[in-house]
Assembly symmetry: C2
Homo-oligomer: 106 residues x 2
């Protein structure tokens, strides 16, 4: 799958969708961290927030990797997790969309 | 210095002072984290908060070690950093207080 070509139009669609998903996930995460932080009552809660941030940072750093060779998998994951709607990938060729849709259901 | 004995009275004074300093530092830190979290505007700010928490956790875990053999140094540090007033260690013998006072000035 790593040898699939991406046209310029597809590249634009992909970059825009990628950025949109990233902004959505980050915005949601920032809000979540604010809520968790405002609810800290004792030291234990603060270390729970720290562990949460460690895990999310690792997760996000690994997930948002813009490389053509893995983009199909990245988009499938983003659709599956709800950060992206499959409609927002319109403009990609049918084959890619079919793969993303199938992988997102797995 | 590790062979200094601690009477029961001194133990009580030490434990109370230790707990007091810990609560003060933690309370201040929780407030600080709340303020920082509420000011998060972008992802970079969130990772700065994460780094801050990593450093503070490491620092606090190392600092609040209740062992008689290191207590003089722990108290000296807490006094130096302002988490404890030397008066709150009244009840310890003169020699210990003199050592703590001297170390806190270093």
């Amino acid at each position: 799958m790593s040898e699939i070509g991406w046209s310029n139009i597809e590249e634009n669609v992909a970059k825009e969708a990628f950025e949109k998903a990233y902004q959505r996930e980050i915005t949601t995460l920032i809000e979540e961290v604010r809520v968790k932080a405002s609810a800290i009552a004792e030291i234990k809660d603060m270390w729970i927030l720290h562990d949460f941030l460690s895990a999310r940072r690792h997760d996000i750093d690994g997930k948002y990797e813009y490389r053509n060779s893995v983009l199909i998998f990245v988009f499938a994951r983003l659709v599956k997790e709800g950060w992206l709607n499959i409609n927002e990938l319109e403009g990609l060729d049918r084959d890619k969309l079919a793969k993303i849709t199938a992988l997102a259901r797995m």
